[in-house]
Structures are given as C-alpha cells and as structure tokens.
C-alpha cells in the first residue's frame, strides 16, 4: 500500500456513485491516501470498490467496511469501481461468496491505516501528540485544546505520511456503519437507466461484433461462405477466429474456440448478417443426448463403479443388520446461468496495448489469458469491470473477452462483442446434470446406524464427502463418479450444493419419517452426536452453529403448531462458510401448490449491510425455488432443446413466494458467505412441504416441469 500525492478531481462523477444521502459538492483537489481511497480538500472521500459487482452488492458493502475504519460519515463517501489493479488489490474476483469474508481484514486495514495517516498529519499540523487526538465522522479533535480539523484539511499532508505497519482495528461494538442498512450506491443510476453495464459501453469509432458457434456440442467449424453476409448493409468483415490461448486456464472453459466473427456498424445489421452466413460444421466428438446422460449416471449409481472418498465404520455390515433400510435416487438436469445481460465485452487492441472493458467475475485470470492469446506482456493489458447484469458463476469463464480481443486485433479497431440470448444459452458453462442414490439404515430403536451415498455428474460429482451427516453416523460411506462429456460445465451459484442440498435434505426428511421422528428433532439428534462424539476427524462443519440455525428457524416459524391448510417442510444446509435453515409453507390454490411463506435463519457472522443482506437471502430463495420447480436444459444430439425464455422456464412474479422472513444469528463472528448459502437448502424444504401436501416424494427436478423431466427418462423420447 503506497502513500501518494495530489490528484486532480476532474470528471469524478463520470465513474463515481455518490451515496444516496450525499450532499457535499466535488472538491477542488483529491489527495491519495492509499490505493483504496482518496480524500478531497473538503472532506469528501472516494473509496474504491475493488471487486466485480454482479448484484451481490459488494460495491456498497466493501466500501462500507473501509468507511467504518476510516471513521467517516457515509454521506461524505463516493464509491468508484476499481479496474483490475494487481498493485493495490488482491483477489479481485466475484465467486464463492468470498468477497466480504476474504476482504474483511484488508478492507478494515485500508480504512484504519488511512485514518492513522490522517491523525499523524493532524498531530503534526496541530503540534500535539497523536495519542491525544480522536476522530468522529471525518473530524479530528484535540480534546485538551478544544481544537478540531476535518480530514480534508490534513489530507494533503496525510498523503506524505509513512504507512503504519501495525494498526489497531475497531472493536466491533463500536461499529457505526457496519451493521446498519445502506442503500445501493448505484441505485439511482439503475432506476434512471444510466450506462452501467458492459452492453452499455460505447466508444467513438466502435464496431459491433457477433460470433457464430457450432450449433451442437461435438461439432466444429469446417468451412463457411460469407459472401451474402459481407454484401449486407453495414457489414465490415466476416472472418474466422481462434480463441484458445496457449496457456489455457480453468477460467477459459469453453467448448468452442474456432468461431466465425461478423463485424459491422450496428447490432441489428450484424444480427441479420449472422443469420445469412452459410456455415458447414463437422463432427468432432460424440453428439450427446440427455437420455445418454441419464443412462450413464444411472449405470453408475446402480452398479457402483467408483472408489469411496470417505468410509467410516463398516457400512455393509451395518446395512445387513439394520432393522429398516430407506433408499432413494435423486436427479437434476443441466442448468444454464441465464444472466439477464447476455455475454458481451469491449476490446480495443493495438500493436502496443489491449484495453478491455466489460462484465467479468475473474479479471485477473482474463488478463493472463488475453496476454497469452495476443502474445502481449500482461502489463500492456488493462481491464475495467463494469457492473454486471448477473453473474451466478457464468462470468467466471471469460472466453467472450478473448473473443472480443481477437476480433479487435484482427480489425484493428475498438469493438464490442454482443451475444444474443441464443448464443448465451447454447454455449454455456452449465451446471452439470447430477444423480445420486442415498441409502440409510435404522436399527430397531430407529437410530440412524448406516448411511451411504453414491453420486455422479457430468464433469464431477456433486458430493462433499465431509459435510453433514458425515461425523454423525458410525457407519458412513461416500462414493463419487464423474462422467466425461463434451458439454461445457462450470460453477453455477453454489456449485454442487445447489443440487446435493436438495437431495440430502429431502432424503433425511424421508429417513426421519421412517424413524417416526419429527424432522427437526431427528436432525438435531444427529447434530448432538456430531457435537458430543463426532465420527472421524475431517468434518467440514461446526455442528453447534448448524444446529443453531435449525433451532432458530424452529422457534421463529412456530414449528409443530397446527396450521390447517398449510403444508410445511424444513431443510438446513452449510456451504460457503455459512449456515442456513429454512421452513417452507405451501398452500394449495386451485390444485396448484403456492409457496405462502419461507422462514429463514442464517448464521453468516457479522452482517455488514442488513437490508442488502436480506435482499441476497430473498434472491437466493426465489432462485432456488424457481430452478427446482421449473428450470432445466436438455440435449438432443449435442444441441440444447432450449435456447431462449420461450422454452427455458424461469420463475416469474406469480410463482414467487408471497412472503420471506429472515433471521440472522447475532454472534459477532467475522463475516462469511452470503450470496450463495440461502439457495441450496430451499428446494428440499419445498419438496418436503409438497410431500406433506400430496404424499409424493419429489426426487427428480424440476418438480413442476414434466416435459423437461421426460427428456431425461430412458423410456421416453423427447
């Protein structure tokens, strides 16, 4: 972290988001204190938000943490989105619900060291010992003399102070900003339609580009005739690009690297020209269909071909002597991310440098891949992150940035690459299709004595071997299997957990019923075992915190009371370092289930921005219910059967829960994940409530989309 000098304050509003309450005018001069912030001569503070904003609201919450330790009034803060800056920032990444958790210490340090430098400057200027000074909301006071100065008055001097190596952080009980609800710093710009997103980027002389990719997984480009397209109005060029960088990383996941690019003056002209392309594709590998996936995954879970990734006790003996055995298989289809803003990116590549701007969750990785693709040193590449119209994991995989760079390099002009919805949905990095079989053995006292799960997926198993109920059952086994596929898959909001939580927590409901126990009591008994006498040493969760959210949701929802006409289901899950328990209340309306209310208890440690946190929880719940009920992607001969929202069903207003009530555990623990943890458990709470409504156990997702389910059934042709 380097101290710095004066910077000029022109055009500051162009890229800054004033906090909604802000009243101060822009200052005449800004003074850099460190990489995270600068202070204006009038006390206004600009705080850089280092991480990509995908709707998880870090552009508000990360600066709040800095402002807390800096001890400024939030209304005197403007927030600026940082671009990729490896000198000043680390982990500029949106993923794994880790921005706040992993940024917590460094953001606090950034604010606290800046505050210390301002104090040192004030001490020098006021000729008093620094220990006699205190701060409050941007004002430095010397109690003995009654004198005070504003941050703005000492900012110039503060920038020249030595950066302190050790610094004391606030006691959380003294927090004034953290733990209070602050509105989205981009709120006003969003509701007035200001250019914020990648698709809104515009530059003088900028061209528009689109790409044509193989229509099915397993196909590759053979040849193309662009004569018709090239003759169309507004079309500049049509050519082939190869976007595989020499050093391919995980973030370059993408099935199609040989593409046809169409470049022109406007989006509509390019869209029309793309349709006029005559392209021949050829088979590169097997064209897969969803019934093949079903077959292969079923073969695995039935025959058990893989080795165990965890084994406690002697499961086979325990099952053999069990009084009761419960078994069920669960499955779920591929899912597309379907961010509302389709993939896009701006690039301007010249002989000397490459400037990129757009929606990307992994700018550090994109920078490396672009450098490799263009054969350019990484220091010549700049990446600016725009606000993103959704991420959900899709924008971890930045091939669209490479495509834009390759096109710009070829045409030697600035270009914005735009995907249509169809481009977006048919060349995704999908949530894999999954299948698992659970088996539980109860003894004559209805105690869970054996537990086994076999799980399989396209590209990777959905299982976490060391998560609950590992540690709570003496005889326990996990077996995993991953099927190769040419369909590209990747992280989708709460990877693996988004499926396995539903399967596991639905199954435990069934086991509790077989044991004749209340589903919450049954789970608590298992947690009790894991607390008092855990089986094995590698259990990934804290059983007390886990049980804590379950007890909290039990109390708040009034679990166990008589509610005529209301069917209730419960679920609890741990992921992304946070604990969530939910109760779903379903009522039947005209023969259709309607989610009346979701009760949600969350333990994610300190909550930085409570109302925004509630929004994340609510969004995860709606997302989880929507995908479990309606959504899915299926394939026929390598081609996805859905390519737009006419066939791919997403949850809509009428299907959303009527009410969601959330309760946070107040324990003062450093914050953990929030963007993902509320999604995984809700599908099971819903499935368990639906079971109470009609006696049917839901084991195949999506519950309310029979057409999609049929596409994954062996005996039904699609």
């Amino acid at each position: 972290m380097a101290g710095g000098g004066m910077v000029l304050g022109f055009s500051w509003l162009a890229s800054c988001a004033p906090t909604p309450e802000q009243i101060k005018s822009p200052p005449k001069e800004w003074f850099n204190i460190n990489g995270f912030l600068k202070v204006g001569d009038n006390g206004l503070v600009t705080i850089m938000s280092p991480n990509p904003e995908i709707g998880q609201n870090v552009k508000t919450s990360m600066p709040m943490i800095i402002a807390e330790e800096l001890d400024v009034d939030w209304k005197d803060v403007v927030v600026e989105q940082a671009g990729l800056d490896k000198v000043n920032f680390t982990r500029q990444l949106a993923g794994g619900s880790q921005s706040i958790r992993q940024g917590w210490q460094s953001l606090r340090m950034a604010g606290a060291t800046a505050r210390r430098m301002l104090l040192e400057a004030a001490a020098q200027q006021m000729q008093v010992p620094v220990a006699e000074l205190s701060t409050d909301a941007g004002l430095i006071s010397h109690k003995k003399s009654g004198k005070s100065v504003g941050y703005g008055e000492v900012a110039s001097l503060a920038g020249t102070m030595t950066v302190p190596e050790e610094i004391e952080l606030k006691d959380p009980k003294d927090f004034k900003i953290i733990g209070t609800s602050r509105k989205n710093v981009d709120g006003k710009d969003i509701v007035t339609g200001k250019p914020l997103y990648g698709l809104d980027v515009h530059r003088e002389g900028m061209k528009i580009a689109m790409i044509a990719h193989p229509p099915a997984f397993g196909l590759k480009l053979k040849s193309f005739d662009a004569s018709k397209a090239k003759a169309m109005p507004g079309i500049m060029d049509v050519f082939e690009i190869n976007t595989a960088p020499e050093d391919r990383q995980w973030s370059d996941t993408n099935a199609f690297t040989n593409l046809v690019a169409v470049v022109g003056n406007s989006t509509w002209e390019v869209m029309k020209a793309k349709k006029a392309l005559e392209i021949e594709w050829e088979e590169d590998s097997k064209l897969e269909s969803s019934i093949n996936h079903e077959e292969i995954l079923s073969d695995f879970v039935e025959s058990g071909k893989a080795k165990a990734s965890r084994k406690d006790g002697n499961p086979s003996a325990a099952f053999a002597s069990a009084a009761k055995v419960v078994e069920r298989t669960f499955s779920a289809p591929f899912l597309a991310h379907n961010t509302m803003e389709p993939m896009n990116f701006f690039a301007h590549v010249t002989a000397e440098k490459a400037e990129l701007e757009g929606p990307i969750q992994t700018p550090e990785f994109m920078s490396k891949s672009v450098a490799s693709l263009l054969g350019m040193p990484e220091e010549n590449i700049s990446i600016m992150m725009t606000r993103m119209g959704g991420g959900f994991g899709r924008r971890l995989y930045g091939h669209f940035g490479l495509e834009a760079a390759a096109i710009s390099q070829k045409i030697n002009a600035p270009v914005k690459l735009v995907y249509t919805r169809e481009d977006d949905m048919t060349q995704g990095t999908y949530r894999p299709a999954y299948k698992v079989t659970y088996k539980a053995g109860l003894d004559e006292n209805n105690k869970l004595v054996a537990f086994q799960v076999r799980g399989a997926g396209t590209h990777g198993s959905p299982l976490f071997a060391n998560r609950y109920p590992a540690g709570a059952v003496d005889n326990y086994m996990v077996e995993e299997f991953a099927k190769d596929s040419n369909i590209s898959t990747g992280a989708w909001r709460a990877p693996r957990s988004n499926f396995i939580a539903c399967a596991e927590q639905s199954f435990l409901d069934e086991v509790a019923e077989a044991a004749g126990k209340d589903p919450i009591e049954f789970r608590l008994e298992l947690f009790d075992r894991a607390i008092k006498d855990p089986v094995g040493e590698k259990n990934d969760y804290d059983a007390e915190r886990y049980a804590g959210v379950l007890k909290l949701v039990k109390e708040k929802s009034g679990w166990g009371k008589d509610m005529p006409g209301v069917h209730r289901g419960v679920s609890a899950y741990f992921c992304h370092n946070s604990y969530v328990a939910q109760v779903v209340d379903v009522v039947m309306e005209d023969g259709q289930p309607k989610v009346q209310k979701v009760w949600c208890a969350v333990d994610c440690g300190i909550v930085v921005n409570p109302d925004a946190a509630l929004n994340q929880i609510e969004g995860g719940i709606v997302d989880g219910i929507g995908h479990a009920m309606y959504s899915g992607l299926s394939f026929t001969d390598g081609k996805s059967d859905q390519s737009n929202f006419d066939k791919y069903r997403l949850i809509r207003h009428r299907e959303a829960p009527t009410e969601i009530e959330t309760f946070f555990v107040d324990n003062g623990i450093d914050p953990t994940g929030l963007g993902e943890p509320s999604l995984p458990p809700v599908a099971a709470a819903l499935a368990n409530a639906l079971y109470q409504a009609d006696g049917e156990r839901r084991s195949q997702q999506p519950f309310m989309n029979e057409e999609l389910r049929n596409r994954y059934k062996l005996n039904v042709t699609g």
Binding site: P20, D186, V191, I208, T267, G389, F392, T658
Partner: protein
C-alpha cells in the same frame, strides 16, 4: 435503409436505419439511450419495455417503421429528475440486485399503475408476470409498486 422521424422522451430525432430494425436497437445504438435493455430479443423477458403512446411495449419486437408517428418514452424520460414515484419507491425498498431488468420492470409497472392505480397483490403479480428478474427481487418489486401506488393516490 430509410429515414424515420421519432419522438422519444419529448424530443424529435431523425434516424437512418432499415425499416425492420427493432426500436430497442434504434434507442441503444443510434440514440445512445441504453437504459432500455436487451434480454431475449423475443418479447419473453420484458427487459426492453418502453412506452409507446403510453402503453407498455417490448421494444425488441417492435420494428421502427411501426412507431414513426408515435410518442416513445424510455426509462430516461419517465421523469425529468428520476423522481417518478416508482423510481423513488425502488430506491426506498432498495430493490435492485444486479439491476439489469429493473428499468423494464419500472416501465411496465408505470404503464400498469396508470390503468390500475390501486392494484391488489394478485393484480400486481399478473401485470408483472412478463418481466423476469433473474436475481429474484420479485417481493421487493411488489412492495415498491404498492408504495408507489400509495404515494401516487
């Protein structure tokens, strides 16, 4: 190519585009009014909702030649200072997550509230059912529409 005279947010514009160009792309590419969003291109998601003579329309599926003599309003022109009761309610309820669909949601809600200033929850859900929010902010959208309706009455 043909020349079209368009009235957008009270201002006259002249554009030279192919007659089948969707209004969405005229707004975004030719008039630099990018508040209207591209989501699906087939009137399924509502992100591109604007008002044509006061009625909510999906601008991705309306060719420019069909609106030449009509008055268009986009999110940029819904209010002069960004203080339409819906815009204010959206901020009060801190509705947006990613925010991308919200201009379309607001435009759809604004046309709806003009026809039905005192909607029930059921009527709100039905009227808004064509607008997808992938982040799942539906409950807040509903609450904001109710607040705006109260403030407008």
């Amino acid at each position: 190519m043909a020349t079209f005279n368009l009235k957008v947010n009270g201002k006259e514009h002249q554009v030279e585009v192919a007659p089948d160009t969707p209004v969405l792309w005229v707004l975004r590419d030719h008039l630099q009014l990018v508040g209207t969003k591209f989501g699906c291109g087939m009137a399924q998601c509502g992100a591109c909702t604007i008002h044509v003579d006061g009625n909510a329309m999906r601008s991705c599926s309306v060719p420019v030649q069909s609106v030449a003599d009509k008055s268009l309003t986009t999110i940029e022109g819904l209010s002069e200072k960004g203080d339409h009761p819906l815009q204010e309610a959206w901020i009060e309820h801190d509705v947006p997550q990613c925010g991308y669909c919200q201009a379309g949601q607001i435009m759809n809600a604004a046309a709806f509230l003009k026809d039905n200033p005192n909607p029930t929850d059921e009527e709100i859900a039905t009227a808004m059912n064509g607008n997808i929010c992938r982040c799942g902010t539906y409950l807040r959208i509903k609450a904001a529409i109710k607040t705006a309706a109260n403030n407008m009455s």
